[in-house]
Symmetry: C2
Subunit: 322 residues, 2 copies
């Protein structure tokens, strides 16, 4: 495989599924993953970055094959003991996972930026790719429900299992956030940028909302490809289907393509959405259809390989590439 | 048993051994334990109060029967994972124990005083006695070794197993420390004050050094009894023997009695130290000799019962008691 620099924008599970397939297909050192931090939260006094940890654990080969969080084979003895003190706690943490949060929290209290701590954590797990938080500033997704409740993201997503209809979503602190060191540089240097099948509203739009990130992606010399998070009129996982429907948008690749208009050159859509190809092509987007489900590592590798091959194959809508 | 208020000054293991025998002999609600906090320390970003926890776990019935710290039957999975981040770590923490430190740290970061947090932790473990830190202010024991090294207490005691000869011991922050709410009141209200077989230098003298504590004890209406931490010319546990010897003091109840002069009405000494009784009595101290070892709960109860009976039996050197 020719050495090509790959940048990935990442949320949690959907991104991890693609990333675990990507790294065997390109040199790990050539991959930079730019991760959403708008769903970070403090629990049990610990600074927790769920998406960063999911990506680091995935790249470190210690993520569970199915569950979307924590370490494979972890125990929960500390959590069970913590119920003495937090009887209403609902955020789950494994014992080994806890060490990561202890370290992040201790380092952050010393004034170390999240990006530095993340690099240290990634190194401790033997990760050779670069893992960057989108920003070192605190950004927090808030959900206003149809019933008018204002919920922290994790409360809506984990505690209430994303069942409340969403009226509005805000990213508190986003207007003041600057990209973490390396984020814009990675987008500029990339040969390929991948938008994995993450939820745009909860994961990728916060990243794109960090000052300078959208314009860096819009002006990138890279070929920019997205993998569809929907298939056959349904979200592959999570609340995306209901979130699109609540906005009056069809649950289709076309809705996603419009959200990322001007930022993506090619879409990998599910075979079940072949009928959408002409409409996508009318937007000037290259399209390939394939099975985009990634329940196994083998499927992740297949989708990643196809995505990279597709990226290399597509011409650039905005002039020739170097 | 007649209801009598008992106050105990406490360090870690030695105190816990007596306290576990004391509570079955008097109503738990009538006992106040005033605990040394000069060996508190921050590890893994967590605020750890070893002596407070040992006393709370002991009174909560969850302490291991032999080991002097942590919870019975605890695992150490988080600690093992933490070695990724702190490869040189030497302070041991169990997973369940960790929850206590998480809670203390989170509450302290909110600005809650240690005494309030300690009461909450004690309640969470079902403790009906009162457990008070000696002070809400930070006090830290520092050890200057004969070789001129300046060590934090835990580094000297745990990491280096107390093997460095001690030239000097300081209690940093002690001059500014005020007693925690309830400390002086408990000493004034007590019918009996017990000084358990704790190390004076590392445990009881810091408590007595908190402003107003020594004078409250000196002026207390209580009968004040101490249980000897030495037997037959040796410390029952820990570095006390070497610490006394380094000061040129014999390892004998008499050395201890002189340290606490004016603060103790009666001493429970080990049978092996019967020969010291006349010298102690010449100091105006009542003495009883017994087996003071407490390797089992039965032995702890026997020593506690004898100590209470002895306290009730002795007259007051400073006039009649109510």
């Amino acid at each position: 495989v020719a050495r090509q620099k790959v940048a990935v924008l990442a949320g949690g599970v959907g991104a991890a599924r693609l990333v675990r397939g990507l790294v065997p297909e390109v040199r790990a050192e050539d991959v930079t993953v730019i991760v959403n931090t708008a769903d970070d939260e403090t629990f049990y006094g610990l600074e927790i970055s769920p998406d960063l940890d999911t990506i680091v654990y995935t790249l470190g080969g210690v993520a569970p094959p199915r569950r979307g969080w924590g370490l494979a084979g972890d125990t929960t003895h500390a959590l069970e003991a913590a119920r003495r003190f937090w009887p209403d706690s609902w955020f789950r943490l494994g014992d080994g996972d806890l060490a990561t949060h202890l370290y992040r929290t201790a380092r952050r209290r010393d004034g170390t930026p999240l990006s530095t701590v993340t690099a240290e954590i990634a190194r401790a797990f033997g990760v050779r790719s670069r893992v960057l938080p989108m920003t070192d500033a605190p950004v927090r997704t808030r959900i206003t429900t149809r019933r008018g409740r204002d919920l922290a993201f994790q409360e809506w997503f984990v505690r209430r299992r994303a069942r409340d209809a969403v009226a509005r979503i805000r990213y508190r602190g986003l207007v003041r956030a600057r990209p973490a060191p390396g984020v814009v540089e990675a987008l500029r240097a990339a040969d390929i940028v991948v938008l994995p099948p993450s939820n745009p509203f909860t994961s990728l739009l916060p990243i794109l909302g960090v000052r300078g990130v959208r314009s860096a992606l819009a002006g990138a010399r890279a070929r920019r490809v997205a993998v569809s998070p929907v298939a056959g009129g349904q979200a592959i996982r999570g609340p995306l289907g209901r979130m699109l429907a609540a906005k009056g948008l069809p649950v289709s690749p076309l809705s996603l393509a419009r959200l990322y208009r001007g930022l993506v050159d090619g879409w990998v859509v599910d075979e079940s959405d072949r009928a959408e190809i002409p409409a996508l092509e009318r937007l000037g987007i290259a399209v390939v259809a394939a099975d985009v489900s990634m329940p196994t590592i083998a499927r992740s590798r297949a989708v990643a390989r196809l995505t990279l091959r597709f990226a290399r194959s597509i011409g650039c809508q905005r002039g020739p590439r170097t």
